[in-house]
């Protein structure tokens, strides 16, 4: 039999990255500050996790300005949506299988 944990995505091992993806999958785009507030994280912590997700091409970053302030928003990519769904399916299978 195949190892059930195999299908789980390594990138989503972190609760924070899992959280970011959960928020992105139901929102068209969301700003850094909104994410920070929802997940109750510090700037640096959140930024590093967002970086990992960006490098995996699971999310897109849009930089814009509101006045002089930067307003960075994030949205999920097709690849990210796919990976997240596959991860959830794997989780479900594991729970049902055990």
């Amino acid at each position: 039999m195949k190892n059930p944990i195999e299908a789980l995505n390594k990138i989503f091992d972190s609760r924070i990255r899992l959280g970011v993806m959960s928020v992105l999958i139901v929102n068209d785009s969301i700003s850094f500050n909104e994410l920070k507030q929802l997940l109750e994280l510090t700037d640096g912590n959140l930024a590093s996790h967002l970086n990992t997700l960006e490098q995996a091409q699971y999310l897109k970053v849009h930089k814009a300005f509101i006045g002089k302030k930067t307003n960075t928003t994030y949205s999920i990519t097709e690849l990210g949506r796919h990976a997240f769904k596959a991860h959830l399916d794997a989780l479900e299978k594991m729970i049902k299988g055990v």
Binding site: L18, G19, S22, I25, V26, E34, Q37, L39, V98
Partner: protein, 214 residues
């Protein structure tokens, strides 16, 4: 913690975050009850006004033209806006309290989404009814059904951004509005059922479902 428990917790977190980031969940059932009671009170006042008008004018006429009709209209409008103001203020208060209790921000993207999507059919309905009042004489009978139908549409549209139960309430309002279209002249009763009784019933349902349990 076992592996399975850990994964279950992860799934729970995911669900919570999805809801919290896309739905406005501080809506209090008590604001529904309050709005319902206010609406019933308003409907009673309107009923008294109309009765006074009818007994003063002596007979019931389908096309009354005298100036006391204008007075009646004005009084009914006053009652309508009074009800709207009190109900909104109460709803705001209970919902603010609820969001504070849950330690959630009151004003965020979910609040904005909810209000915008509620407002689109609601404002269209409001303008539609104002047009009925201003340029189409003798269409008073359509006001109550139109209120109910547009309000129902607004609730259905907004239900994607708050508790999904609201969707069914919206359907009930639409059905009630359409039934009222067949019984023109009983608009006030349908109005009282739709905005009064349904609100009270639904508010209590949501209160027991989401607030008492926690």
């Amino acid at each position: 913690m076992s592996k399975q428990e850990e994964q279950l917790n992860a799934l729970n977190d995911i669900k919570k975050l999805m809801d919290r980031s896309s739905r406005f969940i501080s809506l209090s059932g008590l604001s529904g009850v309050f709005a319902g009671v206010t609406a019933l009170l308003g409907a009673y006042l309107a009923h008294v006004e109309i009765n006074n008008y009818l007994s003063a004018s002596g007979q019931y006429s389908a096309y009354p033209v005298d100036s006391s009709l204008l007075d009646l209209e004005f009084n009914l409008l006053k009652i309508g806006f009074g009800v709207l103001g009190v109900a909104l203020a109460g709803g705001l208060l209970f919902t603010l309290r609820q969001s504070r209790k849950r330690n959630l921000p009151f004003w965020d993207r979910t609040t904005k989404n909810l209000l915008i999507n509620l407002a689109i059919p609601l404002v269209s309905g409001g303008l539609f009814i104002i047009a009925l009042l201003l340029v189409h004489p003798n269409t008073y009978g359509l006001i109550a059904p139109a209120c109910l139908v547009f309000y129902g549409l607004a609730l259905i549209n907004a239900s994607k951004y708050t508790y999904s139960d609201i969707r069914f309430l919206g359907l009930c309002e639409i059905v009630l509005g359409l039934i009222a279209m067949f019984y023109i002249g009983y608009g006030l009763y349908f109005w009282a059922i739709g905005f009064g009784i349904l609100h009270i019933f639904y508010g209590m349902l949501m209160y027991f479902k989401y607030e008492r349990a926690r």
